[in-house]
């Protein structure tokens, strides 16, 4: 297989299909309505275990992280009102643990949440506690039934969670960006479309670069995971994805509001749903700076190792 670091026709097909499903769904429910949760869970709950594509014993229901991140990106783009990243990771964890709960979730009979996502946890049957963010520990994940059962799982869930949260930020930010491009083309000020003002054109170009940066970081971490690369490498790439999205997502979202002027500040226009989603995802599970520091600690530790070696 040749070097292929771009989304293929198949990838785009999946993305479009999921996008269409989500946006059909969205037309029937208010963005903040809790009813929408179960609907969204149904849509994605069947996806099952996220695992490396070429892992021996990969389950038939499994999806690759590339596929999962396309699904979550589409969900962000359609503002699916559900903590999708966490749910997908949870399903993976439970399926990997092989409990009956896994089936209950796959069938949509049981509800799940991920700590510390309190808004999801209010009425769930199971809670997943991802391990604390830590540069050195790669284990530390466990799940726990609300009733107190506890099963260890053997999968480092952090890369999954970080990559999918980054994908959700990317989709949400892309949607706000697209809206602002449309608005800039229509809205006139001083007799010209907003899109003709160079300061806005250039800022839009910079925002597009940020979106592509997020996309590259997410795809890279996902493809490393899917190729069952070395765990430390996967973890570092996932941190880069989360750090990049946590940094760039709010910038793009806030600029999209700025480019809408006062209109973007109204509740009815709805840009705030995306802004809050992005802001929340970017602060949870480690801020941009938190992740950059962890990346840097690892980077410096690696250099120090070669340093000592070359000195010896």
């Amino acid at each position: 297989m040749p070097l292929e670091f771009f989304r293929t026709a198949d990838d785009r097909l999946l993305f479009d299909a999921v996008s269409n499903a989500f946006s059909a769904d969205r037309q029937e429910c208010e963005p903040d309505a809790p009813d929408a949760e179960s609907r969204a869970a149904m849509t994605i709950g069947r996806q099952g275990l996220i695992q490396p594509v070429n892992m021996p014993g990969r389950s038939a229901e499994g999806v690759s992280l590339i596929e999962a991140s396309a699904i979550v990106e589409a969900a962000g783009m359609s503002q699916v009102p559900f903590a999708l990243s966490e749910s997908l990771v949870l399903v993976s964890a439970l399926t990997a643990a092989g409990t009956v709960v896994g089936d209950g979730l796959l069938n949509g009979d049981e509800k799940v949440g991920v700590a510390p996502f309190s808004h999801v946890n209010s009425e769930v049957d199971w809670v997943l506690h991802p391990g604390a963010i830590d540069a050195n520990a790669c284990n530390g994940q466990f799940k726990e039934g609300a009733a107190g059962q506890k099963v260890e799982v053997d999968l480092d869930l952090r890369p999954l969670l970080w990559v999918l949260m980054a994908a959700d930020i990317l989709g949400s930010a892309q949607a706000m960006f697209d809206k602002s491009l449309g608005f800039m083309g229509e809205r006139h000020q001083f007799g010209q479309p907003l899109s003709s003002y160079q300061a806005l054109r250039h800022r839009a170009a910079d925002d597009w670069v940020l979106l592509e940066d997020m996309r590259a970081a997410i795809d890279y971490a996902a493809v490393l995971f899917d190729s069952a690369a070395e765990p430390g490498e996967i973890l570092q790439a996932a941190r880069i994805a989360k750090a990049t999205a946590s940094h760039a997502g709010p910038v793009v979202a806030e600029n999209a509001i700025q480019h809408h002027g006062a209109v973007g500040f109204t509740w009815e226009f709805g840009l705030h749903f995306g802004l809050k989603r992005i802001k929340s995802l970017s602060l949870r599970q480690g801020t941009a700076s938190d992740h950059y520091r962890l990346i840097g600690e690892q980077y410096l530790a690696d250099i120090a190792k070669t340093f000592v070696n070359s000195g010896a």
Partner: protein
């Protein structure tokens, strides 16, 4: 240079501090500074505070005694603004009256208008709103379409306004209307003073991304007003408004700097209480923000002392608008970094969550950041343009 207050000014400040400590509610604190989220309750609280300030002798501080003012100077006004900001006192609901309508009437109103309106602004008996923006104007204020036609005894007005803050609680509105379509657009506008409870004026409130309803749309249909409510000469509304707007950008809400400093102290207390993100570089972030707040205050000091020395404030005020609005957004961004999850969940971070959203509007209203940069490029730096450009 000298930045010390005179003994009289210091005495004024000390008296004010004592008055504030006994007149603000005992448990008043920063986390309630935006007032209740219920719009009606909030109006009641803000309005009551404005009346209290007036009763305390702090209304119309630097306005002429002839119209009910205290006749003090800009420095005393600055001291008042700083002290109000320092304790995060309510902002009041009538800032348009105090900071825009009052100055314009004092500048361009008739003697009758001054006697009629100024005392009631000082006492907070009248609440004013501002009908300048329109759905298709935005940054391009001179493109207003709302039209006022001459009648025998006055004017009849048709059109639509938008982004009119607190119109639903106001009894008066200052309105910018086109009065001549045949002249260049800056030369055919006139200002009017309009009672809001009047036939032909419908007010519809808009919800903002903070959840509050401050904005309104105004629909004007065959609304009739007498010529005595015209403010300034016919077709010179733009010039009259702009003269004051330039001043306004420099001097209104001088309390902002002090209020932001109050917010930053609140953020620091929350972080020091252990709610913060353990990994954040607290020293760097607080150092940078507090340094920038210091510079913001120094620009205020410069503007105030130049006005005190009789100098005019022109486009330099755009610097201050750019600085405070961007700094406020940066404080809220750093609040996220400093608090992490707690920014989203901690009860004491509620004020920062709302202010994060509110601050998005601040680089848009009263002239977007883009407009301010263009003003600086045009009027301060005098950078040549190739041809007429709007922005």
């Amino acid at each position: 240079m000298d930045i010390r207050l005179t003994p009289e000014q210091e005495a004024f400040r000390d008296g004010l501090r004592i008055w504030l400590s006994s007149n603000l509610e005992q448990d008043w604190d920063g986390d309630r500074y935006r007032g209740p989220t219920d719009d009606v309750e909030n109006f009641a609280l803000q309005h009551a505070w404005e009346r209290k300030l007036h009763e305390g002798g702090y209304g119309g501080l630097h306005w002429p005694t002839a119209y009910g003012g205290r006749g003090l100077g800009i420095v005393e006004y600055f001291v008042l603004m700083e002290e109000l900001g320092r304790v995060a006192a309510p902002e009041g609901i009538n800032s348009i009256g105090r900071e825009l309508v009052g100055p314009i009437i004092l500048d361009a109103g008739t003697e009758a208008q001054k006697r009629r309106f100024i005392p009631r602004i000082i006492s907070a008996d009248d609440i004013w709103c501002q009908g300048f923006s329109e759905p298709n104007s935005g940054s391009d204020l001179a493109s207003v379409q709302t039209f006022a036609s001459r009648t025998d005894d006055g004017w009849v007005i048709n059109g639509q306004k938008v982004w009119t803050s607190y119109a639903q609680f106001s009894n008066w509105c200052i309105l910018l209307c086109r009065t001549d379509r045949t002249v260049p657009k800056h030369k055919g506008m006139t200002l009017f003073l309009v009672p809001t409870a009047q036939d032909g004026l419908e007010i519809r409130s808009l919800r903002q991304i903070t959840g509050r309803r401050e904005f309104n749309e105004l629909f004007l249909t065959e609304m009739r007003i007498p010529d005595s409510l015209r403010l300034g000469p016919v077709n010179e509304g733009w010039q009259v408004a702009n003269r004051v707007l330039a001043f306004e950008r420099g001097t209104t809400r001088l309390y902002r700097q002090a209020r932001f400093a109050h917010e930053l102290r609140g953020l620091a207390r929350l972080v020091l209480s252990g709610a913060g993100n353990k990994r954040a570089d607290k020293a760097l972030l607080f150092g940078r923000l507090s340094a920038r707040l210091g510079i913001l205050r120094q620009h205020n000091l410069r503007i105030v002392s130049r006005i005190a020395a009789g100098e005019a404030i022109g486009p330099e005020a755009s610097l201050q608008k750019l600085n405070w609005s961007i700094l406020h957004q940066d404080i809220m961004a750093d609040a996220g970094e400093l608090l992490g999850d707690a920014f989203l969940e901690h009860p004491a971070a509620e004020r920062f969550r709302e202010t994060y959203l509110q601050a998005r509007a601040e680089t848009i209203y009263a002239g977007t950041s883009e407009i301010q940069r263009s003003i600086i490029a045009d009027r301060v730096l005098k950078l040549p343009r190739a041809r007429k450009e709007g922005v």
